[in-house]
């Protein structure tokens, strides 16, 4: 059996390792599209901060890890997929055959439609290569104008500030991390960042970028221009699926998959950022570009590829974000659901916030800022669809009791 995995992020690597365990005799090939060993984007913020070397970002640390598991790494990008002949084209004259294919190509930064977006000095912060470029240029006093304050925009701030740069952040909407945090939580994050010396301009979308005398000039809607040595574009991500055009694989926002992580085309699977799987709470299919989701899906896909039926029970949207040292998290339906109930606690002076969302006596979502102990239990409660019984009301009164509620409701220990 020949297994081909396109993409060497967490979904791809876990899939390859799971395949090796489940099918010791199989051939396993993994395409790496960036000319790098499999690495983790999650580690890039820590590389920027100087906490780790580049090797510290590698998904697996042993030099012979893939060799030992007989996982062949091929440095190439998939150009197209021919599902009839079961081959993946790697460019003119180069293709690889497969019996089972996993599409784990992840996502890439969304491109801003903006005059000057192709100028030198305009960057994303997504790949190792991006990180190298930023590290080469970021010095004390370096002016960075960053467009976007989503997950990526926030998590890289600490690394940038640690270089002593002068950071200005432009936010198109009224608030930061709006796909993950409610306005209250977002407001706390903003105050926190501003207190640490970051300039944040909300409701601001640049009109264009020009290069004058080696300095970028970012034109703002109010007529002002901001000089910048680096313009960082961090306005979200899109799945990498252009190469699937014409393959016959059914696409929505991503590759549409069933509970076995299989696409509309038999033998072709998808996992991670690129896969559009069913959400465990809404039952709707959607993209879910988070690390734990990628590894879960990679494992499920691999088991099915190896002929061991396994079902993905639906993805849960959850994330943890550290913004200049302030930890925040979001889970599930943090915006709440129609007819649901919610409770929240806010200590503005100490940057602490906790918001829980309920559907009847089940927890369906949560937002937290500055509250990080045992937050995993929130996942347990939400994903397990645990009936809280009397603990629902107790959580309404004091949401900090989540661990007690979890132990009592899920384990019946109290």
């Amino acid at each position: 059996m020949r297994h081909l995995i396109i993409g060497s992020g967490p979904a791809g690597v876990i899939a390859a390792e799971t395949l090796r365990k489940a099918d010791p005799a199989a051939e396993i090939t993994m395409l790496c599209g960036e000319g790098e060993p499999p690495y983790s984007r999650m580690a890039i913020p820590y590389l920027l901060r100087g906490n780790i070397e580049e090797a510290g970002t590698h998904l697996r640390k042993g030099a012979d890890h893939y060799q030992r598991l007989r996982i062949e790494l091929v440095q190439a990008r998939a150009q197209s997929v021919d599902t009839a002949s079961r081959t993946v084209s790697l460019g003119p004259g180069k293709s690889l055959p497969y019996d089972r294919l996993l599409i784990a190509t992840g996502s890439r930064p969304s491109l801003e439609r903006l005059p000057g977006i192709d100028l030198p000095g305009v960057r994303s912060c997504w790949t190792l290569d991006d990180a190298r470029a930023i590290l080469a240029k970021a010095r004390p006093g370096t002016r960075i104008v960053q467009m976007g304050a989503g997950f990526v925009g926030c998590i890289i701030m600490e690394g940038l500030l640690s270089r002593g740069v002068d950071l200005t952040i432009l936010v198109r909407s009224g608030y930061m991390v709006r796909r993950m945090m409610n306005p209250t939580a977002s407001g706390l994050l903003r105050r926190w960042c501003e207190a640490k010396g970051v300039k944040i301009l909300t409701h601001t979308q640049p009109q264009g970028i020009t290069l004058e005398g080696g300095v970028l000039q970012v034109a703002l809607p109010d007529g002002r221009t901001l000089p910048a040595d680096i313009y960082l574009s961090a306005v979200g991500v899109d799945p990498n699926l252009e190469f699937l055009a014409g393959s016959g694989i059914e696409l929505g926002q991503g590759v549409l998959v069933d509970a076995a992580m299989q696409s509309s085309m038999p033998g072709v699977y998808a996992a991670g950022d690129v896969a559009e799987a069913t959400d465990c709470l809404t039952g709707k299919r959607q993209l879910n570009a988070i690390q734990p989701n990628a590894v879960d899906q990679g494992r499920i896909a691999a088991l099915n590829m190896a002929g061991r039926p396994a079902r993905f029970k639906g993805s849960l949207v959850f994330n943890v974000l550290t913004t200049l040292g302030l930890v925040s998290s979001s889970f599930g339906e943090w915006q709440g659901i129609p007819g649901g109930e919610s409770t929240e606690l806010l200590d503005e002076a100490r940057y602490r916030y906790l918001n829980l969302q309920f559907d009847g006596d089940r927890l369906v979502g949560a937002n937290s800022v500055g509250f990080s102990d045992h937050v995993g239990a929130l996942r347990g409660l939400i994903e397990g669809r645990v009936r809280l019984g009397v603990w629902k009301q107790r959580l309404m009164e004091d949401p900090t009791q989540i661990m007690q509620a979890f132990l009592a409701a899920a384990y019946s220990v109290a």
Binding site: A43, H58, F312, N319, V375, G384, Y411
Partner: protein, 158 residues
Amino acid sequence: MQKSLHIDPNKCTGCLQCEMACAWENYRTFTIAKSRIKVFSFHHEGRFVPYTCTQCDEAWCMTACPVDAIQLDPVTGAKIVLEPTCVGCKVCTIACPFGTINYVAQTGKVQKCDLCDGAPACAKACPTAAITYVDADWTGLDKMRQWAGKTDTNPATV
């Protein structure tokens, strides 16, 4: 026979000797905030529940770690955080549906129970045998694992 921690909340008095022992084992301090085992108090019910990682087979933390900083100890079955490798991204802390791996701001790393290389300090310190280290097949941990099996998230395991 692999061993695991067996917790009997009925015997717990809430003295927190286990928490101090854990903190001492790992940080040479009695400051219980650093403990990896936590005794949760249910005042209304008059109950104390010690709780820590069950070293579950699914190992959500280990699989979710983006930098391979959590590894399996083949002898004890514990999932162990390699501190030098951990970057402190906290993905494991939200991936673990049990809430038993946590971020330590002071070190910038996460921590979880590692079974103290097969001699858990908490069990040794417990004066009432509420925490014991016993052969895995008859522990109450199975109950917890069964619960994990009941959730909607449980993937088939290899």
